[in-house]
């Protein structure tokens, strides 16, 4: 592996390459590469430069505010936070998942499928398809969704409409496209009307057809250069994800399963309320983002990846027919028990997108989604833990409240944090293989971003104002002098500053 590139032995004599911030990921990140005199990478790190203070934001609030409040943590996956918080506050009012009204469970699942569908569509069609369709080192002007719309109009339009459909599912179930209040403690506050159900049914077959086509597209791209796609940024890791009791893929509620790089099951059907017994988080001085690991394996061997690649690798089957066919083919393409290719995240992501589309159709034909049951309550508790498989991976919300219903302690492990080590490892692999001894060019730097982007990281959340998100590249010598600097402006222009 590439752990030896996390910390260089003789840092003072090295040149520093800084990519700040990483573009096409949510929020701001920074990649630093320390090069020796021969331009060989001696150290590579992905830094998270913003401290988010999620827990501080939540503490001191009444628990019933949480499902709405936490949506503001993230502009990309508000529904995931909404549902994880809802599951946690169910417990605060004494309701375990099996006691939630069946109609509420199904409506929440539908909301979640809508969220995952639209978010996966955003990532693949808007952020990654330009790289995949035009090539990682193509002209920067080509690497945009508008170029995709121009050159592949059908694919571009399908991406827009898939995302729109997922947003409409969210709007119908929660009442709003964002900041909806669908889930409340012990239930839901809204069911689907027949008109809303029929509206969503109108397009679902088309959505499934596009989802099928998107899987075919990503397979075609992946297979067009199989050695490259299977090798680029690829690392061998443990994988963590949720499964149903019979081992099926599960996104809303189930037990945790961990498999190692050889495909052996290390833990299975773990009650996520005991996550603290299995997962610890390490703090490292050079980044704000923690490094979670499996306690039983220790810091060095216990890191793991989450998200579509982990979930599709870990599950025994998928309970929707078309996605299951694709899962079988996905697993069969690898000569190993697990698919480790970082770029296979894209393939796995679209299998999940298809699963979501199929699942939405099944739920739309289920009369339970038209029924609004009264929220249920049980014996009051002072601690609640909610875990779901969010778009990017397993998401943990853990709250403690006092007798006045005020949150006194909150702990969140977001998916991107779980993938922190994986992203760093992929950066090191790409840096070691593609940058050493070569001139720093924008396409080369994009290779690094491609590796990070495959994880669909969410590094910060929802701050965006006119004029943000430039890309800056600096080359600094061992004395701290900037010897080269590239700035990618928000107009797309790249300027070399002497």
């Amino acid at each position: 592996m590439y752990e030896h590139l996390e910390t260089a032995k003789n840092k003072d004599s090295l040149k520093r390459v800084v990519i700040d911030p990483v573009s096409r990921v949510e929020g701001h990140g920074k990649v630093t590469l320390l090069l020796d005199e021969n331009n060989k990478v001696q150290q590579a790190r992905l830094h998270i430069v913003e401290f988010r203070g999620f827990e501080k934001f939540i503490q001191g609030r009444p628990y019933w505010e949480l499902p709405v409040l936490v949506q503001r943590l993230c502009g990309i996956c508000p529904v995931s936070h909404h549902l994880a918080a809802a599951k946690a506050i169910d417990q605060l009012v004494g309701v375990d998942p099996e006691n939630l009204p069946i109609s509420a469970t199904k409506l929440r699942k539908m909301l979640h499928f809508g969220q995952v569908l639209q978010s996966h569509a955003l990532h693949f069609f808007h952020l990654s398809s330009p790289d995949l369709l035009f090539g990682f080192e193509s002209d920067i002007q080509k690497r945009s969704i508008v170029a995709v719309l121009n050159d592949f109009p059908d694919i571009g339009l399908q991406g827009v409409k898939l995302r729109k459909y997922g947003q409409e599912v969210i709007r119908m179930v929660s009442g709003k496209r964002i900041h909806g209040t669908g889930a409340i403690a012990g239930g839901m506050n809204k069911a689907l009307s027949k008109e809303e159900r029929d509206y969503l049914l109108t397009d679902i077959d088309q959505i499934i057809a596009w989802a099928v086509a998107s899987v075919q597209l990503v397979k075609k791209v992946h297979r067009s250069n199989l050695p490259y796609y299977d090798h680029f940024g690829t690392i061998r890791s443990n994988y963590l994800g949720m499964v149903q009791p019979d081992g099926a893929l599960e996104l809303y509620h189930g037990g945790l399963r961990v498999k190692d790089a050889q495909g052996d099951t290390l833990f299975d059907h773990i009650d996520y309320c005991k996550y603290n017994d299995y997962i610890h988080e390490e703090v490292r001085s050079w980044t704000y983002m923690k490094f979670p690991y499996l306690t039983a394996l220790g810091k060095d061997a216990g890191w793991y990846r989450v998200g579509p690649l982990a979930r599709v690798n870990n599950c025994d089957y998928i309970n929707t027919p078309m996605a299951e066919i694709e899962r079988v083919e996905f697993k069969a393409h690898s000569s190993e028990a697990m698919v480790h290719s970082t770029l296979a995240f894209h393939w796995a992501r679209l299998i999940e997108l298809l699963h979501c589309a199929e699942s939405i159709k099944a739920l739309l034909h289920d009369a339970d989604i038209l029924r609004l049951d009264e929220p249920v309550k049980g014996e009051r508790r002072f601690e609640g833990i909610g875990v779901i498989e969010a778009t990017r991976g397993t998401l943990f919300h853990h709250y403690q409240v006092d007798e006045n219903d005020i949150v006194t302690k909150a702990n969140l492990i977001v998916s991107t944090t779980s993938n922190n080590m994986g992203m760093n490892e992929s950066v090191r692999q790409v840096a070691a293989e593609y940058l050493s001894g070569q001139e720093l060019t924008e396409p080369l730097l994009n290779n690094l971003e491609v590796a990070i982007r495959a994880y669909d990281p969410c590094l910060s959340c929802a701050t965006h104002a006119v004029g943000k998100m430039p890309l800056q590249l600096e080359l600094v010598n061992s004395k701290g002098d900037i010897i080269d600097k590239l700035v990618k402006h928000d107009t797309g222009q790249i300027e070399r500053i002497q």
Binding site: K56, I145, V146, A462, H464, V466, M469
Partner: protein, 158 residues
Amino acid sequence: MTKPVLVFGYGNESRGDDALGVLILNYIETHFSLESIDLLTDFQLQIEHALDLEQRELVLFVDASVKSDIAFEFTQLKPMRDISFTTHAISPASVLDVYQTMKKTTPPPCFLIAIGAESFELGDGLSDNAKRNFAHATKLIDDLLNHLTIGYWQLQCR
């Protein structure tokens, strides 16, 4: 039924001055009849928002701007492709470009109020500057929504 005027205020209410766009929507909701005005909000702009421009006669985007030395800027937008396509969020001009690319036709007249902002921390309220800028911007909002014609809006552009 689609209303002829769309006001799209975007940003995150819990991130300091990033709330400005959403707060303008709240202001409109309490000060104007919404018979002919649709209000739409989101954390950030994405390409599917191009579909929200369909069948509109006037569109107003409202956002916080990192140009903290201005109270606000009011401009008419033209379709423009920019690097913001490569992030999860895109600019309003890019939304117009997506519309044009998808629909093969010119987008409806679209304008942007960019309100000066300086603080975007999670959990913070509006900064003092942003509060002042918000007050200035609402005067323009009053003026624009009382004169729903392209010509009048163009005259107000700076």
